[in-house]
Symmetry: C2
């Protein structure tokens, strides 16, 4: 029996948190999911996660646990903290890395979920072999992570890569950040629902979506309707892709990526979202970038993407500390 | 007499080209300027520059020349080329690094002028000690260079940092790139002249600028008029700063810079351009960035900025090759 070197990937979400054992090749050997319990204090969650981790490791006596990587909303890489997370009751700044260190002596590192996704694509996914690309996660909001010269961009304060808060429409839709017109108010699972409602108000066309209340509408219902030929649903995807592709042309002039990788729930709609995004990205690119920027789907399996990203972060940090 | 280690900075412009001897501390020891002669073939210019360099070195027998750094419009760092420069008659792709190597065995490196300006600020200017910042050059166009984690961002093809071609106004002013509404059509020496003409058309206010033809108008005339209280000129600066500050808030979400450094001819107008830019940048920043991003003037002397940037590029490459 040979020793397996593994890291723990931890994906903290608003509803569930998943921990998984991941090797250097991106294989998820085992995982466990626990309810996050958004109203519970952070130390309680970390204690429960430690139990889960011990449970996973107990089943693999040959495993050598090398480090822990965590992806969480509003996490700060430099400070090891989660700061006023939108979907959890944790007040102010929580030292999540410190809490994990109570239980383990291996290196612990954290970053926000979209940054973790970008590192996941770099090590294990569609970004393998690329040195410059951008990952866009289209979930409840629009998250992003920028890879420049083979490394994640953290910026001077650890908050780089908030492309969901580029202004897509000056004076446009209200955003959770307190401003208006942010890209994520249009291009996200929530954004496309808002677009459907706008279209239902504006158009007279029949639509199966006219029978669904705003609170019940999901991006999945819209893509299902679009597949069945619903014109409102199809137009909602066209509008979403147009706004996303147009705006991503502004991102390309910043870091000149070889690819933009789209991931997250909304990308399950496939060509419905990829086609209009690719079309309008290409149309709006500065001439020197035309034909050079690929639009790719995630190379990570949807179910394990969060854990793989967090694990990739842990592997990256271990390799950085070795090369120092 | 001790040996001085120096590099050559070469700043190729549409009208003049300057070569200078620069030490590792950013002191410009000597320089010479020759007319670029835009209609002349590239090898002729390089031959004349070699003569100038020999002239400068002849006056400093103790100097040891370590490398050559070149800043030029449309230059590509990876390929060592200048590609279809807008203000020179050089057709297609010119191997500028190769041409310099005919005359010298020291390392030669090239990048576009705005990228060179960013490296200049990093080594010798307002970016000293910072690891993440953006340099914006407000000249005929709007150039830019991004520093991330202490290094210039080149992107996968060497063309990163074209922020002048973010779309500031969809369907707006015609840009030299063939599209419409690019940031540089508003925020540059040329852009502010266009804004003045728009204002002169729209407003009934008296203005000393009403007597000046479009082809004769310069940014300097506008700032002089503004200093004398001309309301059209003042408003032109306010509009320019508003568009620039608003749009730079979109750049901040990409790389989370500690500072944005404004340089180039238009910044000679001082508070006229800095104040409205800072105001609207701060107003449009995402909450997590508010109060964190400084707006700074260049730390390089205007006259030598181009040469210092090119020299900084040479020093950076020498240090990279030593650390390999």
């Amino acid at each position: 029996m040979t020793t397996e070197e593994l890291v723990i990937g931890v994906d903290i979400g608003g509803t569930n948190t998943t921990v998984g054992l991941v090797d250097r090749n991106g294989h998820l050997h085992d995982d466990a999911t626990v309810p996050t319990r958004a109203d519970e204090a952070a130390p309680r969650l970390i204690a429960r996660l430690d139990e889960s981790i011990r449970g996973l490791l107990a089943r693999r006596p040959a495993a050598r646990m090398k480090g822990i990587g965590i992806g969480a909303p509003n996490a700060n890489y430099y400070r090891g903290t989660v700061e006023s997370p939108p979907n959890l009751s944790w007040k102010g700044v929580t030292d999540v890395v410190g809490l994990f260190r109570r239980y383990s002596e291996v290196p612990v590192v954290i970053t926000n979920d979209a940054n973790a996704a970008a590192i996941g694509e770099l090590l294990f996914g569609a970004g393998k072999g690329l040195k410059d690309f951008i990952v866009i996660t289209l979930g409840t909001g629009l998250g992003s992570g920028l890879i420049v010269n083979g490394e994640l961009v953290y910026g001077h304060d650890g908050f780089a890569g908030e492309l969901g808060h580029m202004t897509a429409r000056p004076g446009g839709r209200e955003c959770g950040c307190g401003r208006r017109g942010c890209l994520e108010t249009y291009c996200s699972a929530t954004g496309i629902c808002r677009t459907v409602y706008e279209l239902l108000a504006d158009r007279r066309a029949e639509s199966e979506l006219r029978g669904i209340a705003f609170n019940d509408l999901t991006a999945k219902m819209i893509s299902d309707a679009a597949e069945r030929g619903d014109t409102i649903a199809r137009e909602a995807f066209a509008v979403t892709g147009e706004i996303l592709g147009t705006k991503l042309a502004d991102s390309v002039v910043h870091t000149s990526p070889a690819a933009i990788i789209l991931s997250g729930g909304l990308t399950a709609a496939g060509t419905l979202i990829f086609e209009p995004t690719a079309l309008h990205l290409e149309r709006h690119l500065l001439n020197i970038f035309k034909g050079k920027v690929k639009l790719l789907p995630s190379g990570l399996k949807e179910r394990g993407a969060g854990v793989l990203g967090a694990a990739a972060l842990a592997w990256t940090e271990l390799e950085k500390s070795h090369s120092r």
